[in-house]
Symmetry: C2
Subunit: 299 residues, 2 copies
């Protein structure tokens, strides 16, 4: 019998991931802020629980995939949170936070859970909505290797082989590396397209010349054509990316380093938010860079 899974958070990512677990034969109980968000999964056979605590009383493994670090804190450390369960009623032995959250919170959760005999793993992912749907997420793990072994059949359903990056928080740090790389890559792509248009080139034809060479990237292949088509629908929300950049910058601050490209990216993405783009996809950076390119010269 596979272990029972209590799942917290039914957003775009969470929904696809739970579907894959149900398909894989797992018994899954759910908690989310509103029951309606979980309804389609309940229809597929998932159970419904009124609090994270209630989930932890009946499931061996708890997995959270929520929005912000504050949400993570609430579902674990809050009233009726996973860790407020009394030890003799607790069934959960492993808790996995797959939210992109702060490395320090990952450490704090692990410490809070130790007294309850719960192992905590931080396991943020990359691969977006498509990766979640197709079960091809890249999973970056921080925590105890034995705990990882125990839950690796679950990770195998959700994504590619999970990679243990170190102790508690190392998964989150790795995700910050991932986002730091993407941030400046996106700046380069959007600036390249602004240059192309401004110089009178056909940007689509330019992509034919540059996509397959040294300028090539996942983002250039997947997002540049969407920009040219005027499609700014979210694969990944600007507001979530801004959260990630802020976590990364706060960590840099804590570590005593300054990364200028990362700082510039935060500033540019903040512009996207200011102009109403919080719920657009990250490729909406193009509009901000186009506007600033002109304003910058005018001022």
């Amino acid at each position: 019998m596979p272990p029972t899974v209590g799942w917290i958070g039914c957003g775009v990512m969470g929904k696809s991931m739970v579907k894959n677990l149900l398909r894989g034969g797992y018994s899954v109980g759910l908690y989310s802020r509103t029951r309606s968000a979980a309804q389609s999964l309940i229809d597929l056979g998932a159970g419904w629980y009124s609090s994270p605590m209630a989930l932890a009383m009946e499931h061996e493994i708890i997995i959270s995939m929520v929005g912000y670090p504050a949400d993570v804190e609430m579902v674990y450390l809050g009233e009726k949170g996973v860790f407020s369960t009394s030890p003799d009623e607790l069934r959960c032995h492993t808790a996995i936070d797959m939210t992109t959250s702060t490395p320090s919170l990952a450490v704090q959760l692990a410490e809070a859970a130790a007294g309850l005999g719960i192992e905590v793993l931080d396991a943020p992912v990359s691969g977006g909505d498509v990766g979640a749907r197709e079960g091809t997420l890249s999973i970056m793990v921080g925590g105890d290797p034995i705990a990882l072994d125990r839950v690796s059949p679950i990770f195998q359903i959700l994504g590619k082989p999970a990679i243990l990056q170190g102790g508690h928080g190392a998964g989150q740090h790795t995700k910050m590396v991932n986002q730091t790389i993407i941030a400046s890559t996106m700046i380069g792509i959007c600036e390249g397209l602004v240059y192309a248009r401004q110089s009178g080139l056909d940007p689509g034809r330019v992509l034919e010349s540059v996509s397959g060479g040294a300028a090539g990237s996942w983002s250039l292949t997947h997002l540049a054509p969407r920009i040219l088509a005027g499609d700014f629908d979210p694969g990944f929300y600007v507001e979530h990316f801004v959260k990630d950049l802020e976590i990364a910058l706060a960590e840099c601050d804590r570590m005593g380093i300054e990364l200028r490209g990362l700082g510039l990216a935060r500033q540019l993405y903040e512009e996207v938010v200011q102009t109403g783009g919080a719920r657009l996809g990250t490729q909406a950076l193009h509009g901000a860079i186009e506007n600033l390119a002109r304003d910058g010269r005018a001022s």
Copy 2:
């Protein structure tokens, strides 16, 4: 009989490209600043000429692959340059500048050549030393489509199908788009690796997690492992990349736009030059970002 080719410039790129033409059955004459630079090609059967003008008197197609726009100016417009040949002694009907140079110089060359009945194409490449050696360069062309058709058998030997991007200068503009994208992508990669090390992660293992996903790029795959191995040998020289960034920034200025990522990249690469890295490979940006990351916080 294939047309005869007069080749100007025997650097790393030029040498590999000429070898491919010789292998392809072309008769090639050479000019370079010093005869010694061309010796290995002369040994393979290439001819040697004492000036660009002398080359233009005996070859139907002239191709230049030199270092800087000033070099391009000299070989075409200078004393004993290609265009100083007297019309009745001129054999050249098409001149191709494959140097990464300014779009405005490409236009200027085309205008200067018109009176001589020479068609000029700007055709910078990407793909670096490996692409030159393997004949897989990406070739971005500006100029007349009929002239391109005429020389396309040559481009087929040197690289992938050449793409006509527009009129004179459009090839150079396209190359600037390429370099603009690479510039910020490199910032992201170097910052990601600095973050990884600073946060105590194993950067090699981090690459396993991030290279195959949304952070993936040609540069991450090819240059990040070199950075981690401490290998800063040039695939592409920092000093040439700085030249390209300066051309791109000057064009932005002319077009009335400001691209902040591009400006940041120039500033960071300038740091690499200042600390003696002009003849290292572009991945040497990592050292500058690592130093500035710490200095930035200290100040």
